[in-house]
């Protein structure tokens, strides 16, 4: 059965995805997501008893190389990667973030 998403549902999903939506976005998404899920309802109507899930972009019969050897290879220097960070302590070699727990 097609799902109807209420503004409360939209807020709950937004919190799971760490998205801070405006009241206008919540109202719009409640309407649009309900319409998209109603459209997706035709998938629910298909008889899939005994059908396996697709779990990869390629099927098993295709030539996927065996896992790589467990060898050390060079990677980008730590300093180069820390240069990309919005906030970092280069000397200590760490990314910096605000306190993790609230008061």
């Amino acid at each position: 059965m097609a799902e109807t998403l209420t503004p409360a549902d939209v807020s709950r999903i937004a919190a799971l995805a760490r998205l801070d939506l405006t009241p206008e976005e919540i109202a719009l998404f409640a309407e649009q997501l309900t319409a998209i899920l109603a459209y997706a309802d035709q998938v629910q109507q298909v008889d899939t008893s005994g059908v396996a899930l697709t779990t990869a972009g390629m099927s098993g019969s295709e030539p996927l190389r065996a896992a790589r050897g467990d060898d050390l290879v060079p990677s980008l220097p730590r300093e180069t990667l820390l240069e990309q960070a919005p906030d970092a302590d280069r000397a200590a070699g760490v990314f910096k973030v605000p306190r993790v727990l609230g008061s």
């Binding site: 799902e3 998403l5 939209v10 999903i13 937004a14 799971l16 995805a17 760490r18 998205l19 801070d20 939506l21 976005e25 998404f29 649009q32 997501l33 319409a35 998209i36 899920l37 459209y39 997706a40 309802d41 035709q42 998938v43 629910q44 298909v46 899939t48 059908v51 396996a52 899930l53 697709t54 779990t55 990869a56 972009g57 390629m58 099927s59 295709e62 030539p63 996927l64 190389r65 896992a67 790589r68 980008l76 180069t80 990667l81 240069e83 990309q84 960070a85 919005p86 906030d87 990314f95 973030v97 605000p98 306190r99 993790v100 727990l101 609230g102 008061s103």
Partner: protein, 485 residues
């Protein structure tokens, strides 16, 4: 000086020293300056880097004679990492991101002698079908500037159509190379899943994404495809198969090829002009020696809903990495005492409306209580769609459909209704769901706008796809766009 339009001609002229790589590069940059103010295909043009690279190629010309793309200018979609050149994926989240490494495809292009001239516009994180979801403004269709070039690789398609570059790289998760190729009147190839390395491609739907070429001719598309295809140890999903020399297969005929047409899918929603151009294209393939038969793909009509469940689930997971911690922009939502959570919410507010919508759908279908009903069910129906193609390929070598049900639509016409926008990809998404290679080739005009014919092949059979694309191109009545000087 007149500069050749096609990559093959440019390479030949540079190899024989008729023209230098620098002259080609300067002419290309000039054409971009001339046209891109109006088209907005590029988010970044790397003038200095491209000229320096061309100078190096001219200096080493003796050793470069064997390089397959020597001196050929190329544009790269902005969701593909280029070391030292900004890579934004058309998102505010990566507005100031300059990658410290290059995607494998970019390294391969450099080894092949190509000159990367800039980064092309796209829908944010490649999510869209019109390039209107770019955070930096839409790209305009060179055929009709009030219309969309399609998307998400709209900048790449427009740059090639307008003759600013002979070649461009795009990425295709549900049609994002083929649909803009169709709407801009150029050739676009989505290779088999696993054929081209995705190392350095900013991930959207990881079981669907592929990088591929856009070009003015099938021969040029084949040259670019050959340069980027092949196994890469840095991408564990890349296939360990040999890559056939696709250029050699382009002999202009389609003799002995059996092409199936799933006619049931054409009954609704296809514009009459698109339908007519498609039928003329099929007739041309018949003249080239192919036999055309009707086939059925009973579950293909479910491709769009299956795709939007699967792709958005993967997108919500892939976009979870944009948290403002390690790279990209950080915005802090200010509360009384700032915590880690405030940088998540502050930073992720930078996503545009379409990215947010898709994260929301994906998060919902993966959430507790809904996973089986939506995501698992969609992956089962995906298996049925794959099975349909396996059955079809027991009878035919190729499957043909129009690439898009419509010609280029007007900017702004579809942005208010996401479902209508999604239907733009109704004929393209099945190839992504099944992992199959597919190409769009111009097959004519409708209302003076280009129409693309899409051909899908068995896994890893890009050589046959390009052969049939070339055969069609030689017979069909289609003249590539000439931009006013």
């Amino acid at each position: 000086m007149s500069i050749p339009e096609q990559a093959a001609e440019i390479r030949a002229a540079v190899v024989s020293r008729q023209i230098s790589a620098v002259e080609i590069c300067r002419a290309t940059l000039e054409r971009i300056r001339q046209h891109d103010g109006r088209i907005h295909a590029f988010l970044h043009v790397d003038e200095a880097g491209a000229l320096a690279r061309a100078e190096r190629l001219d200096r080493d010309a003796g050793s470069g004679a064997g390089l397959p793309l020597l001196g050929v200018p190329i544009a790269v979609k902005d969701n593909i990492c280029t070391a030292g050149i900004p890579t934004t994926a058309a998102s505010r989240l990566l507005e100031r991101y300059v990658p410290p490494y290059s995607a494998t495809v970019v390294s391969r292009l450099e080894r092949a002698g190509a000159v990367i001239v800039g980064k092309t516009n796209c829908d944010e994180f490649a999510m869209g079908s019109s390039t209107e979801h770019s955070a930096f403004g839409p790209t305009r269709n060179p055929w009709a500037p009030d219309r969309s070039p399609g998307g998400s690789s709209g900048g790449s398609a427009a740059a090639v159509a307008a003759g600013m570059v002979p070649l461009a790289l795009g990425s295709d998760t549900g049609g994002s190379i083929r649909q803009p190729a169709s709407l801009c009147g150029v050739v676009g190839l989505k290779p088999t899943y696993g054929r081209v390395s995705r190392y350095g491609l900013i991930a959207f739907g990881s079981s669907l994404d592929q990088i591929g070429p856009l070009a003015r001719t099938s021969r040029d598309a084949a040259a670019l495809f050959s340069a980027i295809a092949g196994h890469d140890p840095s991408d564990s999903t890349s296939a360990d198969t040999t890559v056939a020399d696709c250029g050699a297969a382009l002999n202009g005929d389609a003799r002995g090829l059996r092409i199936g047409v799933p006619r049931d899918l054409l009954e609704h929603g296809v514009e009459p002009g698109v339908r007519e151009a498609f039928e003329r294209g099929l007739a041309a393939l018949g003249e080239a020696g192919a036999s055309i038969t009707d086939i059925a793909l009973p579950h293909a009509s479910l491709s769009i809903p299956v795709y939007y469940l699967v792709a958005n689930a993967e997108a919500s997971s892939n976009l979870a990495r944009y948290d403002g911690v390690r790279y990209g922009t950080r915005i802090t939502a200010h509360g009384p005492r700032t915590t880690l959570s405030d940088i998540y919410y502050g930073t992720r507010a930078l996503f545009g409306a379409e990215a947010k919508r898709r994260i929301m759908i994906g998060t919902f279908v993966l959430s507790a209580g809904y996973y089986d009903a939506y995501y698992a069910k969609a992956q089962q129906v995906r298996s049925l769609i794959r099975h349909d193609f396996e059955q079809a390929f027991a009878r035919v070598d190729l499957v043909a459909l129009p690439t898009s049900p419509t010609v280029a639509f007007k900017l702004g016409e579809r942005t208010a209704d996401p479902l209508q926008m999604y239907l733009s990809d109704v004929f393209t998404v099945a190839a992504n769901l099944a992992g199959l290679p597919a190409v769009s080739v111009p097959c004519g005009l409708s209302d003076r706008l280009p129409v693309g014919l899409q051909v899908t092949a068995r896994p890893f059979d890009e050589a046959t796809l390009l052969r049939v694309a070339d055969a069609l191109e030689r017979r069909v009545n289609f003249t590539p766009l000439k931009m006013p000087a």
